[in-house]
Structures are given as structure tokens and as C-alpha cells.
């Protein structure tokens, strides 16, 4: 149309660039999405099968990788019961739906995402705040059922309100937290001392 406006500064050129850059970035994202989703299927290396709730889960520092990694150990039953994969999935699903229905994420963080009024739940199962691995399940259930009278405020005065969680839902939440603690989160949180590390 005119000589003064070189190609690289023309409207049509940048229209094409915009389209190609957008399409290209989106295509890369779609490819990576397929790859990430397949790598994070339940039962894979990064996200464990739901029946991992039958096992001992720990979180330790790996020198060669410069990061903390979940370690799946021998059998360590939850509620004294061995769950099949289906039963475990059902229980974890109930727990996950409960965490959504009770709006946990608007006080707590899960995998570090959420609100910052209450502690992160990513490794809550492994937290040394539950005193010992024998007391843990019981303390967690009691806390979920009646948080006001079993408040764990650590001197902050912040108490979880009573969310009218049923006993079955509470078990589900505990199972969900145990399963979530086994996810490989690339070393987040860093330098976390688990309940097992304290005991040893």
C-alpha cells in the first residue's frame, strides 16, 4: 500500500503474528496438558493410587534431587482396615467432596492454593502436631467432628468453626488428606519435618 510503512511494522504483518503466536502457544499448552494429565493419573508415579491410604507415607529429603520426596513404605492401615482400590476411591472421593462442600479452601490452602487464614493441608497427614502416629487418626477425627472443643489454635485464638461434618465424612477427609500427602509436589513444602522424623 505504501513504501514508508515496512512490512514488519504493518497491520497485516502483526495480525498474522498475533494469530500465529496465540495458536502456537495454545498448541504447546495443549500438548503439555495431555502429557501432564497422563503423568498425573491416579496410580502413576506422581499421584498415587487411592489404596496408598493402606501404606505408611513419609516425606524425606533426597540429596541427589535437591528436594523432598514422598516415600511410600510398608503397610500402615487407616482406621484398622485394609481398603480395596474401589473402597479407597469411594472414601477419598467422599473426603474430597466434603472439603469442597465445607469450603475448606477459603481458610486453608491445599497444595498451597487457597486462603491464608489457616494452615496448609498438603502434608497435614504428616504434621507432627498430631503428636504420634498412634494418636493421629483419633485426634484428627475428633477435631473434625468438634473443632471448637478440640481447637488447635497454637496460641493464635483462631478456631475452626463447627462445620457439621458427619463421622463418615470425617473419615473421608482423613483418607483424602492421607492420599494427598503422597502426591509428588516437586519438593513443596521445603524442609518439612514429618511426624516420623520427630519420633525417630
Amino acid at each position: 500500500m505504501n513504501e514508508e510503512n515496512p512490512l514488519w511494522a504493518s497491520e497485516s504483518f502483526w495480525k498474522k503474528v498475533a494469530i500465529w503466536v496465540t495458536a502456537g502457544s495454545f498448541l504447546i499448552l495443549v500438548v503439555l496438558t495431555f502429557d501432564s494429565l497422563s503423568q498425573t493419573e491416579v496410580g502413576g508415579k506422581r499421584v498415587q493410587a487411592y489404596s496408598v491410604i493402606n501404606k505408611k507415607i513419609d516425606y524425606v529429603y533426597k540429596e541427589d534431587l535437591h528436594k523432598f520426596m514422598p516415600v511410600i513404605g510398608e503397610t500402615e492401615l487407616l482406621f484398622g482396615k485394609e481398603f480395596t482400590e474401589e473402597e479407597a476411591e469411594k472414601l477419598v472421593t467422599l473426603g474430597k467432596k466434603t472439603t469442597q462442600a465445607k469450603n475448606c479452601m477459603n481458610c486453608h490452602t491445599l497444595l498451597g492454593n487457597g486462603a491464608y487464614f489457616a494452615p496448609d493441608l498438603t502434608k497435614a497427614w504428616l504434621d507432627k502436631g498430631w503428636l504420634s502416629k498412634e494418636l493421629r487418626e483419633d485426634l484428627m477425627i475428633k477435631f473434625l467432628l468438634d473443632p471448637e472443643n478440640n481447637a488447635r489454635t497454637f496460641g493464635s485464638n483462631r478456631k475452626m468453626p463447627n462445620l457439621h461434618i458427619t463421622p463418615e465424612e470425617a473419615k473421608g477427609v482423613v483418607a483424602f488428606l492421607k492420599w494427598m500427602s503422597s502426591i509428588d509436589t516437586n519438593g513443596f513444602p521445603y524442609n518439612f519435618k514429618t511426624i516420623y522424623a520427630t519420633e525417630e
Binding site: E11, W14, Q100, A101, N103, A115, R152, N191
Partner: protein
Amino acid sequence: MNAKELCGVANAKLDAFVTWTALDRSNLSDGRKLAVNYFIVAVILFFAQLLFGMIAATQFIFPNFLYGFLDFSVNRMVHINAMVVWMLYGFIGCTYWLLEDESQTEIVGLKFGKLAFWVLTIAVAIVVLVYLFIQIGAGNDTTLWLINEGREYIEAPRWADIGIVAVVLTFFYNVVATFSKGKWSGIAGVLTLDLVALAGLYLAGMFYMTNITHEQFWWWWVIHLWVEATWEVLVGVIMAWSLMKLLGVRRKIVTTWLYIEVALMFGSGILGLGHHYFWIGTPEYWLTIGGFFSALEPIPLVAMVVHAVYDSGSHAFKNGNHPALAWVIAHAFGNFFGAGVWGFMHTLPQINLYTHGTQWSASHGHLAFFGAYATINIAFFYLAIQHWRGDVWMSGNAQNAWRWKWALGLLNVGVVGMTIALLIAGYEQSFIERAVEGSTWSGYFTAQNHPSFQSAMVWRWFFGLMTFAGLILLIWDLLTIGKGETRKMAIVVAERGAGCVSFLSECDHTH
């Protein structure tokens, strides 16, 4: 007093209020009347955002405040939902505002548009009432469908999700059909494609998944790609149109720079999604992708700076709406610091390992959302109210100009103050809770109980109140500015230069 009398009184009060504002709807075309409806609801929700933000901030200092009645989770949810929704209302309003002008024809489906507005507004009202009065449900699908999906930012229950998609499709139909009947343009094309992405992405967040890694993966598609890609381009479209209409910049230049902007924003923003995939269970390559693209994201800001200087040298323009211009300048600075500086400070995985899930995100979020989106919406409200008043002159030395100046000052100082208070809290938290204590629960509370955190929360409250006062003043000003003003806005046509295409909107940001 019975219900009928009560209605009568309320109606009379409303009429008296409308008379008091002395705004003449006959100054507006049909499309713009619809736009104004959206703006009104946007401002009401903006008010709700700050009100519930204040309650939540109070609970950080006095945890027993409204405990068991309106818990933190409820207030925080309304705080962030009101923000997302008011900004969306603002954007839809802006689009309706420019639609008839840009397409050079009347809106095709005005009736559908009006219906969609009322459907959406009633749905929003129901959702908020359910949030406030029912709050939570049992851990089953019924709760997720009817009460709350429990997923930050997109908590709206499934029925409302479907409603939102239906309304957005109506809106989309209106935009496409109107351009098709009238005239297409580069701006129209970008707008249409952006709305396709906006609606399509929302679908990614509508499914339940037990696998929390997959769930958060898709959840970020909605949140990040809305806020850091499609919203930004929408702002670009709105600014491009404004520059042509208000400053008389040539269409060709505006369109070229809109394309450049799309290339820069989508080019850095789409894969910038990676910085949310560091720690949710997704593969390690996201650390690299997220880190690299986050480092590139400030490049558009550099472009903005260069372009602004170029334009300042090539022409000077007069402006007949000082408050709008002042808010646009606030936008440039807010976006640069909130998105650029605050974003980059904690985005590389080497440090994000400690800052993730702390008040750092809150600090960045406050300044970035305000700087990138609140400011630009407010600027547009001023443009709209000016037209509604009959294109009167709105200058810095008019009678009562102190109101908009003080509103501007209080809101900006308030948000910056909150940002700095939260920065201190976040720094302390990443240090004590994350690094020293290794993110245990006791570490979390050690950090929360620390005097520097506690006093930061008090400062945040104080600056929050300042922000709130600024908003009240802003609303008063929007209702009254230009009332009784008879001088018309000077018609200014700047001959050259894409003015602030860059200065106004080319800004990209990191979170």
C-alpha cells in the same frame, strides 16, 4: 406497616434518589442504557467486595469477630467472588458501550441482552444469599450443584455455572450478530475471538474431580487464562476503541498496536500459566517453563514505557475528562508495580518454593487486580457518567473536584498501603513458617503470632478502611460529578499517535 406500604415507601425513596442524581437517560442510546445497568451492578458489587474484605481483615485481628455466624471462609469467598463478578460486569458493560458505535448499527438482540442482564443479576443475588445464609452443605453432589463448589474464585454452584455460560453465550451472540449486521473491524475480530476464549475457558472449571492435581490443573486454566490472557486483551480492546474515539488516534495505528499487544500478551501469558504448576503434582518441566515465561512477561511493560515516551514527544493532547485520565495513569503505575515488580519478585520457583501459599500472593493480588482491572473500570465509569450527563466538561478545577481527587488518593494510597503491609507479612511468613519451621502447622502459627505479622495485619486493616472510605467517596462523586455543569467537553482530535495504546493497556502481568 405492611409489605405493600413498604414497597411504596421504597419506590418513593428510589424515585427521590433518581431525581437527586439528575441523570438523564435520554442522553444514552439503547445499547448504552444496557451498559449502564451493568456498571451500576458492578459498583454495588465493588462495594460488597470491600465490605466483606473489611470483615475478613477484622477477623485476622479479632478471630472471634462474627465467629460461627459469618466465618472467615464465607467473608473471604464473597470478597473475591464479588471482585471477579464486578470486573466481569464492568467489562460486559464496556463492550455494550462501544458495540453500537464500533459496528455502526443498533444492537441486534437488545431484548435478549436485557433479559440476560436480569437473569445474571438475579442469579448473582441468589448465589450470594446462599453463600451468606446457607454457607455449606453435606459432602455430596447436591451441595456442589446447589450451594457451593468450594473452589477458590469459582465457588459458584454448578447451576449458576450453567447459567453464567448461557448468559455469556447470549452476550456473545449479541456481539457477533451486531458486528455481522453492521461492520466488522480489527477490534471487532479481536473482541469476538477473545470472548470465545473467555466463555470456552470457563467450561474447563465446571467439572468435579477427585484427583486434586487434575482438578487444580484445570482450575488454573480458568483463573490464570482469564486474568492473565483474555481479560488483558479485553482491556486492550476497550482501550483501543477509547483512544480512537476520545483522542482521535488513527484506526490503523490502534489496530496494529492491538495486534502487537495480543501477540505479546498471549505469547507470554498462555505459557506463563506454568508458574501455577510448580507444586501441584505436575511434572518438573513446568518449573522451567513457568520460570522462563514469567521472566519474559515484563517485556510488554517495557514496550509500554517506550511507547508512552514516544507519544509524549510526538503530540500533546487536551483532555476533557480529568478523572478518567487520572485513573488511566493510576492503571499504568498500578499495573507496572502490581503485576510487573510484585509479580516477578516471587515468581521464580527457586524462591516461590517459600512464598507459595503465603501473604505474598495476597500482597501481589491486591495491587495487581487493582492496578490492572479496578482502575481501568473506574476510568470507564467516569467516561460513561460524562456521556450520561450530556458530554459536559469534567476538569480538575471544577466545583467539587476535590471529591474525585480525594477518592483517587484514598483508594490508591489505601491499596498500596495494604500491599506493603501484606508484603511484610508475606516476607515474615516465607521466612519463619516456610524456611525456618518447614511449613508445619506449628510453624504456620509461629509465623501468624509473630509481632511483625500481627502489626502488619493491623496496618492492612487501617489501609483497608482508607480504601473503603475512598470507594464511598468515589460512589458519591460518580453520582454527582458534572451535575449542574453546563460547559461542554472540548472536542479534541489529536492528529497523530496511538496515544497511550501502550500507556493504557499494553501492560502484561505475572499473576
